[in-house]
Symmetry: C2
Subunit: 199 residues, 2 copies
């Protein structure tokens, strides 16, 4: 294998091993075996298990997202929910991040790195979504991006990652409307319900 191929193989093996056994039981030896390289090849690149895990996971979680600008708050939320639903089916989000979050409660270095990576991504994506909605007059200018982030991400994360309740067809549609209302967007349903029949 070439140098770059070895590094890529280690990254892949680390992610698979982390999903399979979790941080607590992960050994550099098992990662090396899975990647088909020597332990030395790993220690030449990363000084410790902690450094290896944090660097590889941060790089994987930091990948670029497509632009989420649909021209309207409800459209943006619908698209974001689809992306999040898809992402939460990937082992990175469904197994590795929860495992490291649990580990973070015991390890300040893991905590700090995860917070930095996850929070920066979240602030970037949700910050822009809210800024656009405020600019279009769909949300009040006083909208607190931090509170808004909890309202947008929390329910779907809770359902898929914690309660692990399957989504029904209409669930995401209802969630878009509920979250839009929670954020302070004008209610569009009464207008639909109460539209006068004219002509």
């Amino acid at each position: 294998m070439l140098r770059g191929e070895i590094t890529a193989a280690i990254r892949r093996a680390l992610m698979q091993e982390l999903a399979a056994v979790g941080y607590g039981r992960l050994s550099i030896e098992a990662v090396a075996r899975r990647a088909g390289v020597s332990k030395t090849a790993i220690y030449r690149r990363w000084s410790s298990k902690l450094e290896l895990v944090l660097e590889v996971v941060a790089a994987a979680a930091g990948g670029r997202l497509p632009a989420l600008d649909t021209g309207g708050l409800r459209g943006d939320l619908a698209l974001l929910f689809q992306v999040v639903t898809h992402a939460l089916r990937h082992p990175l989000a469904s197994q590795i991040i929860p495992d490291l979050l649990a580990e973070a409660a015991r390890n300040p270095t893991i905590d700090e790195t995860l917070q930095r990576v996850l929070r920066a991504r979240q602030q970037e994506i949700l910050g822009q979504l809210i800024e656009r909605a405020v600019r279009r007059g769909e949300l009040p200018a006083s909208t607190d991006p931090g509170v808004a982030a909890d309202l947008i991400v929390g329910p779907l994360y809770w359902r898929l990652a914690i309660a692990r309740t399957p989504l029904t067809d209409s669930y995401l549609e209802n969630l878009v409307e509920s979250v839009a209302l929670a954020l302070g967007a004008p209610d569009t349903l009464p207008r639909q319900r109460a539209a006068p029949i004219t002509g």
Copy 2:
């Protein structure tokens, strides 16, 4: 120690050990050492590490909550958020449950037990809260308890357990209002803003 005292000491030691090292690294030997008992004393009561962990955690998480009936939806939400905020500061919720949830992604038995215990509790508490609000006419009769549960629990769980952003003073007040709107409760703010000055 008496028989009951030994069992209680093992339960306590298990919870402390689980918070400290997580499920993956937990050993019966360390639990025995911490409890000041022999490994045999543990294996006499529980047949395996998995059985020990699940039984003790399920018993701890299944404890009774105070009644949450304040006579109004917003009051009920405010009280529930206080209880959840308090609970999420306890090691059981902040370290042990997240760790086991991560483990559950790899272990169907853990997954099943957690789902059974956590979901039953959630359905009981939130189901009653929503039922009362519907009966009082504060929420539509069509309210889906599952969706409502995500909207009620998700944002606060995300903030405290995942993003780990500290609460500000006004945060819970805002959250009560946002979640009430998300659930479809009538907006009380415009009335307050637009109250005509009479007399």
